[in-house]
């Protein structure tokens, strides 16, 4: 019988669901690795930021109050097995947000971050999707596994793209920021470079740094300091940095300090990758006031890992931080109209 009525192999079933077209679960990565020399790898066309005008998170009849949530993760070598684990876990994020009632109309974008100094594909950005089927976007991500040895990756390029190349109805129509989660274990380069440079910028003799002009196609008059680009992207998104304990620089104080300088308390150390969806969902749930920390932590404890405690601690400060933000006036640098309306709404 061709129907499979009697199949009981749960492992085969899981693999069948993960296989997008019956081949490797992560097709594009597999394709690049098996058919091309490393130096010729390219991003999947759906994730290539080059020439992209804007990634849109729009309201629709079906989703009248879209809430954009972007998750971009570092895919360089220092992350070890983390990117592959994320690729496996993150598809559940959409459903989790909906199922737990944290967000009614999430629109989720996935992307990947590399190193513009030595990677072929330093930035990959998908689309905002309002569908529980996240496998396709994630499956197209190339896990290059490159990067240099200098504890910096091109996170600032991702921040630049999200600030300048996304359009959020939630913000323009309803004054509501989206959420941006960066998952990684290293620091930003000091600036968003306008153009590339053939000078060895990082000590790698062969390194040829690329800039916004080469990677995205924008013409910038000058470089943008990371403080400025993060200030800009924070006007559109609540930005979080998640540092997985399993990564090479997990727990690194210099890295943590760097990110706290940029994002304040929105820096989360995550010991257990199994909890990544729950952690992101919980941060959003707290941000949306859809859940209080105690019940959120009870959910986390159910996963049965150590993550509950550390994530709970991190999110406790995140929650406390948010409370002060909502009751204080916007800092001078952030007082554009959209920002004001957002501050009002959050009260």
């Amino acid at each position: 019988m061709g129907s499979g009525r009697w199949s009981t192999n749960i492992y085969a079933a899981a693999a069948a669901y993960r296989a997008r077209t019956g081949a490797d679960p992560f097709d594009h990565d597999h394709l690049m690795r098996t058919t091309r020399a490393r130096g010729t790898w390219v991003a999947h066309p759906t994730l290539d930021p080059s020439g992209v005008t804007v990634r849109e998170a729009r309201d629709s009849d079906e989703h009248p109050a879209s809430l954009p949530i972007a998750v971009l993760f570092d895919v360089t070598g220092s992350m070890g097995a983390v990117p592959r684990a994320l690729q496996r876990k993150l598809p559940q994020l959409f459903g989790l947000l909906q199922r737990r009632g944290y967000v009614e109309h999430p629109q989720i974008l996935f992307g990947a971050i590399g190193d513009a100094t030595c990677d072929e594909v330093p930035l990959q950005v998908g689309q905002f999707e309002s569908d529980n089927r996240m496998d396709t976007q994630l499956g197209n991500i190339l896990l290059e596994g490159g990067g240099g040895g200098q504890k910096t990756e091109s996170y600032e390029l991702a921040a630049y793209f999200m600030a300048r190349h996304t359009a959020l109805d939630s913000l323009t129509k309803r004054g509501k920021r989206g959420y941006l989660f960066l998952v990684g274990d290293e620091m930003n380069y000091p600036r968003v470079y306008a153009r590339g440079s053939h000078a060895p910028a990082t000590g790698w003799v062969s390194a040829a740094r690329r800039g916004v002009a080469e990677i995205i196609g924008d013409t910038l008059a000058e470089d943008i300091p990371i403080e400025a680009i993060y200030a800009e992207v924070k006007r559109m998104y609540d930005v979080y940095f998640i540092l997985p304990g399993a990564a090479f620089y997990g727990g690194d104080q210099q890295v943590l300090g760097h990110w706290r300088g940029l994002l304040g308390q929105n820096v989360i150390e995550l010991d257990d990758l199994d909890a990544v969806c729950e952690t992101i969902a919980l941060a959003v749930g707290l941000g949306e006031s859809a859940i209080d920390l105690d019940s959120g932590l009870a959910d986390l404890a159910d996963i049965g890992s150590e993550a509950g405690a550390s994530v709970g601690k991190a999110l406790a400060t995140v929650g406390a931080n948010r409370a002060t933000v909502t009751t204080s006036a916007a800092p001078p640098g952030l007082s554009d109209p959209a920002d004001n309306s957002r501050a009002i709404e959050r009260i």
Binding site: G2, S3, R5, A14, L96, M134
Partner: protein, 448 residues
């Protein structure tokens, strides 16, 4: 919008799949259904369904959870009344992919409130059926009944489709279910039997992958779909196996009448009393069949070698495929239980017509049942007033057990006989497995 609902007026296997396949084909334009359907909606049962569809190019698939119009590329909605079995669903998708359906999961949406049938339910089902010995109920061994029973006994705790994306909740519910199954198996199985149930964690992983691969649906999504085009509601099993109207205990744990489909359609704003909006189609073969144990008044073992099934054989759990004469008593009863039908579809006309040539007089029709010791004739069975009523005490089953069929010769005009007996127009006649083998009946109503 003309939605159609396809229900089997017997014990199942009448050919619902092939009728759905036809309704989704270009040939349905002959009865005014020219626009392709936007989806097939499954509204009862679960993975135990076995709806055979053969394409004109020879491809064959036994549809269990996917809708029978999948080979036309029509999406499937598993409604909240479905019992979803993700493990079997994955295997079915693999089979469909081999038949050239490029992305079967992409064609699927599953209601978040649909219950999950798990390997735990199946293990209990099989142990239970084994423990019944000769008094087996005719269960298909997949745990359908256990799924419903567990959900009734543990309201709010039974794992459902939406849980699959919340791993911690799902795992907890699977652990409770596994404990329940373990306890039941300990009661049912002889000492020393080793039970190998998968861990809740492994199962939760598989279900998590399922949840990130198929699209989720809910009543709002179904409403949007119903407004965007026509839907085909594909029933499973048959009215004579209905949980309330069937021959207890040889019944299935679901409503096999139009009831679920009408509820789903009604909630989308369709006027289900208007047959121009919702057409209720009853399907019957030219002879009766039954898979599994239970009363079967018109069963005739002499017919079995004459009417062999290409796709329905003996299986371990349900036993042989049983064959008998067309039973007008059962058909009248089925129509009464449904509260009437709007149209008929008749299948296997080719088999009856061929048999009339090769073995004249063998295939007959039961006009009534006859009770022993001058107990009189039974032309019609009383319909139970509601669920869980008199029929479930086994009276109907006892009656059927002692009844003998009153057989008359097979008609030359099958469609005419059925239309006359069941007071409904004939929509389509089937003389072969593919949609191209079906013809609009000469007296078919145009339903546009």
């Amino acid at each position: 919008m003309r939605h159609t609902i396809v229900v089997d007026l017997g014990f199942g296997d009448a050919g619902k799949g092939t009728v759905v396949d036809w309704l989704a084909s270009p040939a349905a334009a002959a009865v005014g259904l020219a626009d392709p359907p936007v989806a097939v909606v499954r509204f009862n049962g679960g993975a135990q369904a076995g709806h055979n569809v053969v394409a004109p190019d020879g491809r064959h698939h036994t549809f269990a959870q996917f809708g029978s119009a999948t080979l036309h590329g029509i999406p499937t909605v598993l409604s909240r009344y479905m019992l979803v079995q993700p493990i079997a669903l994955a295997a079915e998708a693999t089979g469909l992919r081999r038949l050239g359906v490029p992305d079967p999961f992409g064609l699927l949406s599953v209601d978040i409130d649909a219950l999950l049938t798990t390997p735990y339910h199946a293990a209990v089902n099989r142990a239970l059926e084994r423990s019944r010995g000769n008094a087996a109920h005719g269960s298909c061994g997949m745990g359908i009944g256990e799924t419903v029973a567990y959900a009734l006994a543990h309201p709010g705790d039974a794992p459902c489709v939406g849980d699959c994306i919340d791993r911690s909740l799902l795992k907890r519910r699977l652990e409770w279910l596994r404990d329940w199954a373990d306890a039941r198996l300990a009661e049912l199985s002889p000492a020393g039997v080793v039970r190998r149930l998968p861990t809740a964690s492994d199962l939760a992983d598989a279900y998590g992958s399922f949840a990130s691969r198929v699209n989720f649906s809910d009543s709002a999504a179904l409403g949007r779909l119903a407004r965007s085009g026509r839907l085909i509601f594909e029933g499973a099993q048959g009215v004579l196996l209905d949980e309330s109207y069937g021959f207890h205990p040889h019944t299935t744990w679901s409503r096999t009448t139009f009831a679920n489909a009408l509820e789903l359609l009604g909630s989308t704003g369709v006027d289900v009393d208007d047959q121009r909006q919702a057409l209720r189609i009853g399907v019957s073969r030219t002879y009766a069949t039954r898979h599994g144990a239970g009363p079967f008044v018109t069963e005739d073992s002499r017919l079995r070698p004459l009417l062999q099934e290409p796709h329905n054989g003996t299986d371990h759990w349900q036993g042989a495929f049983r064959v008998g004469h067309l039973d007008l008593v059962g058909l009248r009863y089925a129509v009464d239980c449904c509260g009437g039908i709007d149209a008929l579809a008749m299948t296997h006309l080719d088999r009856a017509e061929a048999l009339a040539q090769t073995n004249p007089g063998e295939l007959r029709v039961a006009q009534a049942w006859e009770l022993p010791e001058d107990g009189g004739l039974v032309p019609r069975l009383p319909v139970a007033p509601g669920p869980h009523s008199a029929h479930q005490d086994g009276q109907l089953t006892a009656l059927a057990r002692q009844a003998r069929p009153v057989l008359v010769e097979q008609p030359t005009d099958w469609a005419g006989l059925l239309m006359h007996e069941l007071a409904a127009p004939m929509l389509v006649e089937s003389r072969g497995p593919t949609w191209a083998d079906k013809s609009r009946a000469t007296r078919a109503p145009l339903v546009a």
